[in-house]
Homo-oligomer: 121 residues x 2
Amino acid sequence: MKIGEVAARCGLSIDTIRYYERAGLCPAIARGADGQRYFTPENLDWLTLLASLRDTGMPMRERTRFAALYRAGDESVAERKEILLAHGTALEAQAARLARCKALLAHKIARYDSILSGERP
Amino acid sequence: MKIGEVAARCGLSIDTIRYYERAGLCPAIARGADGQRYFTPENLDWLTLLASLRDTGMPMRERTRFAALYRAGDESVAERKEILLAHGTALEAQAARLARCKALLAHKIARYDSILSGERP
DNA sequence: CTACCGGGCTGGAGCAGCTTCAGGTCAAGC
DNA sequence: GCTTGACCTGAAGCTGCTCCAGCCCGGTAG
């Protein structure tokens, strides 16, 4: 798979994928004789996971750590599991934030409505 | 109310509040004779809303637009309502992303578990 | 009355995490 | 054989904070 297809599938931009490779967030990608990157399904899988973690707010530092463990192989599975579990609770926190924002929006919109329908006192 | 208290209550840092004032995201804050900013409850309210919008992913550009409308007064209420409604649907999208990530985590953790408990085939 | 401390102020530098750009290679279709 | 499109690199640029140096001010402890 070439970079364009991977980008389309994993939700990262082409540039971001290249940036992540340079930054060591994904294992070095195999190159063809033409110098182009050729991604394995496992590469795609990993980038998809990274994208999902990024999009749900895992900070770079943490993703970097996670990536280092990933490169270390099966030895690191237990620690990686911890990270994912921790991120799971971070997701809960985020969901709570979303809910609070939703409530706030409802409140504001109600106030706007009362302004719109006949000047409020 | 002084800036420290406002920061503690609204969820933005002191620096961010000052930055937002400079950037025009909140109306100019009143100053005391000592040069310090004194915030009204309405100021606090506004900053709290901004914080909530930021924390749920509303981009700067949109917040800036929203702020400009806010400064324009009641005239702009209808348009502001549109923005908040749109952000509401953005929240839905985010919730969906969170859910997808949660599922992905569950999947990965299951795989890690099967590696941990007796090398997988 | 002086010394100090916490909290505020400013302007400007620094940083993360992309994103864009200039300038170039290669493969394939017409 | 020429254009088109996807890829490559290294470096610069951007956003949205965040931190810092250096200063002022009001209150209180000695």
